[in-house]
Point group: C2
Chain length 364, copies 2
């Protein structure tokens, strides 16, 4: 059984599958890549138990068969191949890999040692891949990395006829992205944040097919199929924590605000939760930090709206920086008060919303 | 006291000094950067006790003075400055840093808290900076990282009227670079390998002035002055271990050999010292490795010379790869036998020599 294929196509297809395959595992089967030859298609698959990935690649294939071999070693060899094309020759106990002057034999394991994964063949829903990528990547940063609130380590994905929406929160802040795209499906999914990272990496051009299953959902895009395990539990109702009254709004260039916050944050003191202070007054936001080694100050022009003409409050610099990072063009910050949540909205991209809570300062 | 200077010049000058300044140290003085304003020159200096570095920068300077402040924090602030120029305003207790919209005050410490370093003002020897860089960077990799042979953690630099030469060895291999450049000095220096790294980073264009001192040597190049502490002890006589008889030589393209070794090495087994096997016969070197997951094989054409027509031997792949890495164009390998040292020479660059010892294999 032989395959002749371009080295670049092979490297790309393998990279996404290899990334979920552990180098070592208490379940040795997980470290194996499954390779299937059928018709003119070469298929790779692997899993980390949270996400199953399959990559299909059109190639010059002779013969049908199913094989298994260590995923990390195969990936490392393929990345080092010298030629523009590669020939894979599968025997009973080893696969010969020839590319340019390079000639390697890798040992195979029994094909049934690699996880046998099943992927749906029909995907009833669909979205533009770039749109789903934007929805997920805008909120990913806000998911928790703590163990004690397991549900907050997931990202909630709401699929409705009227919208596609993602929400992530760590209990202290929240990010939300609302797209009017209709997937044709209806459901609430809570997806582990690490699986969201893999989905974002695979989403590229064209469309993504989606189907909801029992305890998982599946995606199909651009030659890849994924089964993504869902988390169990309920995400708290984020609408209840979002304030309704905002005595002051500002509209500001996202790029200028990002740069100013990044520079002032250098001086922020980790011992005070990276505190930076904002004073908004007279069409200017004045940003300051006072750390162990001195202070920093920077001003950015803003457009002010609302009943109040000024406000002074403090944030964790890291939380403010992450809340504004997904935005380009102009953004709006709505202040509900000096110790109650502030909201960050996209003006140029109105689908985005983030909530951050000001630091309680001694003088409040 | 004020300084007006381009942000790029400031960042570059500071980067080299900042790198040797520890963020924290049991000797707190070491974490401080010394800043001096005099005439139209801004000077920074710092030390890690193994290497002292001073950077001099022509700038628009008003007033004279000496100041000290935490080196790492100042470096971080300077790298984040938004404007093309920066104004530094030194007061009694703080320095104000203004660049674009950015306005920071950093606290100063007493000037005498920072190490007070003295650099020679006359440099009796000189070399082209690029030549000294080539000499040192060609052998650096071969220095030891082990604690038990302290002297091998240094690089030996021989300065003679007829040559400038560097040697490094970890006791198992050796690298040597011979330049016919005459520094005008005569001496044998053993320099800690970490200080060699800093010297290589600073060497750029033009000339480097050199002067030998008591337990140290000093360099001056391109606005920088360095005092480099020397190691005490004697480097073993490398001439004694270099074989004299070579029944077989090969000449081969450095690029092709490097690539082939890198690819075959992927399969080499760490449990057998990353063994790769070379068989030279009939104008071809055949390189193979056999690891836990299979084997790799690659062939490269060579030009053979000598009384023997073939040889088969094994190396640690890492040692062979490192020995050929400094070379471009063509290289020569001289084989003294299957268990005695092999020598790698530059053909295109004849100043370079490396010695590696074949692995003892079970069949020997």
């Amino acid at each position: 059984m032989k395959v002749h294929v371009s080295t670049t196509s092979l490297t790309d297809a393998l990279a996404h599958v290899e990334r979920v395959i552990p180098a070592r595992s208490s379940n040795p089967g997980l470290s194996y890549l499954r390779v299937s030859l059928q018709g003119d298609v070469l298929t790779f698959s692997g899993t980390n138990m949270e996400i199953d990935i399959e990559a299909r690649l059109t190639a010059d294939v002779q013969g049908n068969g199913i094989f298994a071999l260590p995923g990390q070693v195969f990936g490392q060899v393929v990345r080092a191949l010298p030629g523009e094309t590669v020939d894979l020759e599968f025997g009973e106990r080893e696969v010969r890999i020839v590319s340019g002057n390079f000639d390697t034999k890798l040992q195979l394991v029994d094909a049934d040692q690699a996880p046998q994964l099943e992927f749906p063949s029909e995907f009833s829903g669909k979205l533009r891949a770039a749109e789903l990528s934007r929805v997920l990547s805008s909120v990913r940063y806000s998911a928790s990395t703590n163990d004690y609130q397991a549900i907050f380590r997931g990202v909630k994905l709401e699929l409705e006829q009227t919208h596609t929406r993602a929400i992530a929160s760590d209990g202290f802040r929240l990010a939300y992205y609302h797209s009017e795209a209709d997937s044709g499906l209806s459901g609430n999914l809570i997806v582990p944040a690490r699986s969201i990272d893999e989905i974002i990496r695979i989403l590229d051009e064209g469309e993504v097919g989606i189907v909801l299953g029992e305890g998982q959902f599946s995606l199909s895009t651009n030659g890849y199929r994924l089964n993504v395990k869902l988390m169990e539990g309920n995400f708290p109702d984020y609408n209840r924590v979002i304030p309704k009254d905002f005595p002051l709004d500002i509209i500001v260039s996202a790029a200028k605000l990002k740069e100013a916050v990044a520079r002032v944050a250098v001086l922020a003191d980790p011992a005070t939760n990276n505190r930076i202070d904002l004073i908004i007054d007279n069409g200017v936001v004045n940003i300051t930090a006072q750390g162990a080694y001195g202070g920093a100050q920077e001003s950015v022009e803003v457009e002010q709206e609302g009943t109040d003409s000024q406000i002074a409050l403090a944030y964790n610099a890291k939380y403010l920086a992450e809340a504004i990072r997904p935005l380009d063009g102009e953004l709006r910050i709505r202040f509900s008060g000096v110790i109650t949540p502030s909201l960050v909205y996209g003006v140029t991209d109105p689908g985005y919303l983030a909530m951050i809570v000001p630091l309680k300062t001694v003088t409040d």
